[in-house]
Symmetry: C2
């Protein structure tokens, strides 16, 4: 069994995007308070949106299940306000729940949080709890920069975030550290902001003592850990110069990287420098890069191929990365997988 | 001959830092307008500051010459004001000139620019010209985020920067894209801000048409290109999805990466995915990471060792990276090197 820990519902029916557009337009016009409103999407529309995309690719690539969350770039925590972002997160999460109910063997749910820049994430606890306890979701996406590229909230190691971490630990679910779109023209979303956020988050964790306060907290850093594995010597050296613990200790049972690295040399580097216990298979399909590499004839984001081609990877490590680590990190995964 | 294209004067005598502190304190107190003032540093103090550090390491590591600029983290464009930053840049550059005059065989000068957030870099042209034409400097460091971590100025492809690019092309010198310290608590300077800036700059160049307007402009992206080589497949795929030219074409005679990558797997990746024509040897010593790797017994930033150990690198490519590319990128290098 091969589990992809990082997929977003990027192919959701148009009505979803229309809902958000309308909501933000209404807010902008100031004509009335945001109300949750309804979303008219049929089960058949959901099936159609997945059959030709994520489900087809699962079959083609020989992967079994995707840990699935709302489209990251559309979370847009920097838009709207507390009410609007809550309704938006609720709709997005309810749609993921419907996906997981229609295809329990193919998807496990992860939720979007109703974050707002400058608002302490106490307001995210209820939606997280609802998704985990009522929908059977197994994690959440935590945006370390709800301002969308201006980085105006405190680092992840600040007590600001503790109310959310407390709830994560209580519910025994991990968070993937994942930004949304960038409204700062300096940062291309998927080409700079995503990768920068991964690098930034890791360095915050390296410099702080978050896991002393939350030893059971588990965080996944996506996109292969940003720049971190490539600069592993730099981070080892910085940790040493700063009198911090060795990086293997920092990772431990707390920090995990996914395999969203879209070429073989990068994947080899990741598997060489990061312990297999701290790597989770992922592709982020259908996501940031949709094309076919003319050099290989395969999709750039068909990450399974790069791993399959690495002959020095032991069968045991391969199994950890493809499957076993998921149960260690998403501790509700096995309970949840009713389809199997 | 081995040329290190990326070294900062991080060991400058204390009087330099004291000058800046006093200058900023005076500005803060608002008691008087900033005046340039004097810097009392003797030639012997300069010699002492280098003999036990950069020069010793050149000898130990078997490198010959360092392309040398003021301490990057101390540029602090987000501090001071236009006058203060100009005086500060002048002092820093004059000190580099003294270094290069004392040790013409060991150092070639690169200047700091008197940037100020929100100020178009017209104000940098005179100091750049002075350093190149009067001091024989061969390039400059260009800070893509003078705000120090808030990213409030436009992307590097914006016309905002064109007055500076015009002068760079006129003088036939390249710029290294290098941020300074971060005053945003989210970004550790050398562990996040530096690397993020490299990644950000590359993605800006990928998305824009800067080299159509400035075909002769040469930019060096330091720290091994940030996250870019590790995510080369992602960038190739993004360029393809966006209808941009292939990345090899973007690099061409315009974009170069240095080798400040502090472990062998990272260095191997860099040399594997980036054409040797676009890589310049560098270590950034004495810089961000100063310790000795207990696993190897050598300094993390002794980057020559990683390259020497890569047996599949051809002698020709090695020579390009260690030496020949410098003359292609720093086109005033050969004219300048009076010591040889």
């Amino acid at each position: 069994m091969i589990i992809d820990c990082h997929g977003h519902y990027t192919t959701a029916p148009q009505a979803l995007e229309d809902y958000r557009k309308r909501q933000l337009a209404e807010l902008g016009a100031g004509t009335r308070a945001a109300a949750k409103g309804a979303l008219a999407i049929s089960d058949d529309q959901i099936r159609d949106s997945l059959e030709a995309a994520q489900l087809k690719m699962q079959r083609e690539r020989g992967t079994d299940l995707t840990v699935f969350s709302p489209r990251a770039s559309a979370m847009g925590h920097h838009l709207g306000n507390a009410d609007a972002n809550r309704y938006w997160a609720e709709h997005c999460n309810e749609l993921i729940h419907r996906v997981c109910t229609l295809y329990p063997q193919n998807f496990a749910g992860v939720c979007q949080l109703p974050q707002v820049p400058g608002v302490r994430p106490d307001n995210c606890r209820a939606e997280l709890e609802r998704c985990v306890t009522q929908f059977g979701f197994i994690g959440c996406n935590l945006n370390p920069d709800p301002s969308g590229g201006w980085w105006t909230d405190p680092p992840l190691t600040d007590k600001w975030w503790y109310p959310l971490y407390e709830k994560l630990v209580e519910l025994d679910v991990p968070a993937m550290i994942h930004v949304s779109a960038s409204c700062n023209p300096n940062f291309h979303a998927t080409g700079a902001h995503y990768i920068n956020a991964d690098t930034t988050a890791f360095m915050q964790l390296l410099a702080g003592d978050l896991f002393r306060d939350f030893p059971a907290l588990k965080l996944i850093i996506p996109h292969g850990g940003g720049a971190v594995p490539y600069h592993w010597g730099r981070y080892r050296g910085l940790a040493q110069d700063m009198g911090r613990p060795p990086l293997a200790e920092l990772l431990g049972e707390n920090v995990f990287f996914d395999t969203c690295v879209y070429h073989r040399p990068g994947m080899e580097l990741l598997l060489k420098v990061i312990p297999a216990d701290n790597i989770l298979f992922a592709s982020e399909m259908v996501g940031a890069v949709r094309g076919i590499d003319p050099e290989s004839g395969h999709h750039y984001d068909d990450t399974r191929r790069y791993i399959d081609a690495i002959d020095w990877l032991s069968a045991d490590d391969r199994d950890k990365i493809f499957r076993r680590n998921v149960s260690r990190v998403y501790r509700r995964f096995d309970k949840r997988a009713r389809g199997r």
